[in-house]
């Protein structure tokens, strides 16, 4: 039998190249740029109208003497990088930005009736860092699979997607996420079971919601981008904003719920001050009884330890977690 290597090479040489490949690449780039411009324009206009309408509504109800009650629900379309709150925006943006030599710490604990899966990551903006994994589920390797562990040099941290081009300005980010989620985007989302309304050609509210929530689980989605993602997520059609929630660890939060067909509900809880993810839980409308995951986030100067004190962006979980 001829050597596999030779036969593979011969087979690949039988394939003709694509016709006019560079011209098609140019056309694809132009299409993408046009789409980006259109989407960004539409989203910016929608947000501007929303901001104006919301402001007028608040002023008409309060006589213009009070601010927006819920920090998470304040519109940030006109804010700068990472702003989540009115007058404290720049202070918060500074707190959420990852500096040189700093690591974004994320600890996720997935709690199931059979045991817990704990993932810790320390991510630096140069894509270096460390990951740790612990699993107490019986036969975890088969049930869950091996988690990423070890230290990684610049560029080597294992991640699911490239988020480096995403803006921390919610108005810009909204357009980018729509483009990214579309069929020709960097991260096209598959057809959804509960699609909801179509936002742009090929992008339903369900696929947009899914793309957004996937980013929240990624260890390379830095805190300032996370705050902006929250602001965009709550504007997805169909998403219910909950002003006051308590996550499974007993932490106070604000919640976002997306209603899936068949009564399935998935709720994402966020810290009301930093807009960082606290918990994800799912179940049916009558109660969350099917397991959950909780998150502890912070910014540290070393991969050797978890955050302490002011380094936490979410309250640290100190007590035992309830078994679902």
């Amino acid at each position: 039998m001829t050597d596999i290597r030779d036969r593979l090479r011969e087979a690949s040489n039988l394939v003709s190249g694509p016709a006019q490949p560079f011209e098609r690449l140019v056309a694809r780039r132009d299409r993408r740029r046009r789409r980006e411009r259109i989407v960004a324009g539409v989203v910016a206009m929608t947000l501007a109208i929303g901001v104006l309408g919301g402001t007028l509504l608040v002023l008409s109800r309060t006589g213009g003497t009070h601010g927006v009650r819920n920090p998470g629900s304040s519109s940030t379309g006109t804010h700068g990088k990472g702003n989540a709150h009115g007058s404290t925006g720049s202070k918060l943006a500074g707190r959420l930005a990852l500096g040189d030599g700093q690591f974004f710490y994320m600890k996720s604990t997935i709690v199931t009736p059979d045991g817990n899966i704990v993932k810790e990551t320390w991510w630096a903006s140069d894509a270096s860092g460390r990951a740790a994994f612990d699993c107490t589920i019986p036969n975890c390797d088969n049930v869950w699979g091996p988690g990423a562990t070890g230290s990684f040099g610049p560029g080597d941290f294992p991640t699911d997607s490239d988020v480096t081009g995403l803006s921390t300005d919610p108005a810009v980010l909204a357009g980018q996420l729509l483009e990214r989620t579309g069929p020709a985007g960097e991260s096209p989302e598959p057809g959804q079971i509960s699609p909801g309304p179509e936002l742009t050609p090929g992008v339903s509210a369900g696929s947009e919601w899914r793309a957004i929530t996937e980013l929240l689980r990624d260890p390379n989605t830095e805190p300032d981008l996370r705050a902006a993602i929250y602001q965009v997520a709550k504007t997805v059609p169909g998403v219910e904003v909950m002003d006051a929630t308590t996550d499974p660890a007993g932490r106070a939060g604000v919640g976002l719920r997306f209603p899936y067909d068949g009564g399935q509900v998935v709720e994402y809880d966020f810290d009301p001050a930093t807009l960082q993810l606290l918990a994800i839980r799912s179940g049916v409308a009558s109660g969350f009884d099917t397991g959950y995951s909780v998150y502890e986030l912070g910014i540290v100067d070393s991969t050797d330890h978890a955050p302490t004190g002011d380094q936490w962006l979410t309250p640290e979980i100190t007590g035992p977690l309830p078994t679902p």
Binding site: M1, S12, P18, P21, A127, S187, A211, Q264, S293
Partner: protein
């Protein structure tokens, strides 16, 4: 248990190296494209087994490189960057799912050329049942002649994993071709 999409494992997609190469003379993007597109396309064709899908992945990879060309051109190994980007695209879970949907509803045209090549080369038929990672590993090492370290970098996994994946792929290919040759 919670929904599967809430409880996913991390995959190992790695961003290409960012460090610029000192004193590297940039070439223009079109020349870079023309020099590398056919080789990449053929490799992707073997991995995806569909020329339309292969071209999409190739174009996505080149587009991303083009958008960052001022930086990529100065890297020590722009070709390595290209292959890492292409492998990221190839292995993207979301992209694979989207392609599956398009195939299911008939939006992705069938590859007529594949049948012709398959009839001449049993090895291409034997590639079909391989998992995507094994297919990628054997194409990178055996067709593109990458070392396991280079392939590992492109795939964002360890070199030893590449060797294991490629060995498994070879073994399956031999078995598959043997069965068909009999």
């Amino acid at each position: 248990m919670a929904r599967m999409d809430d409880l996913r494992t991390a995959t190992t997609v790695t961003e290409p190296d960012q460090a610029p190469g000192p004193g590297k003379v940039p070439v223009d993007f079109e020349s870079f494209f023309l020099a590398h597109h056919l080789r990449l396309f053929r490799a992707l064709w073997l991995m995806t087994r569909n020329r339309h899908e292969a071209e999409e992945v190739m174009q996505d990879a080149f587009l991303r490189v083009w958008e960052r060309w001022d930086r990529v051109a100065t890297l020590p190994d722009p070709e390595g960057y290209l292959y890492r980007t292409a492998m990221n695209a190839f292995r993207s879970r979301a992209r694979r799912a989207a392609v599956a949907v398009r195939k299911a509803v008939g939006q992705l045209p069938a590859d007529d050329e594949l049948a012709a090549v398959e009839s001449r080369e049993a090895v291409v038929r034997a590639l079909a049942p391989l998992p995507p990672r094994q297919r990628a590993a054997i194409v990178l090492t055996d067709v593109l002649d990458m070392s396991s370290e280079e392939a590992a970098k492109a795939l964002g996994i360890k070199a030893v994993t590449v060797r294991v994946l490629a060995a498994r792929a070879r073994s399956t290919l031999k078995r598959g071709m043997g069965e068909r040759d009999d």
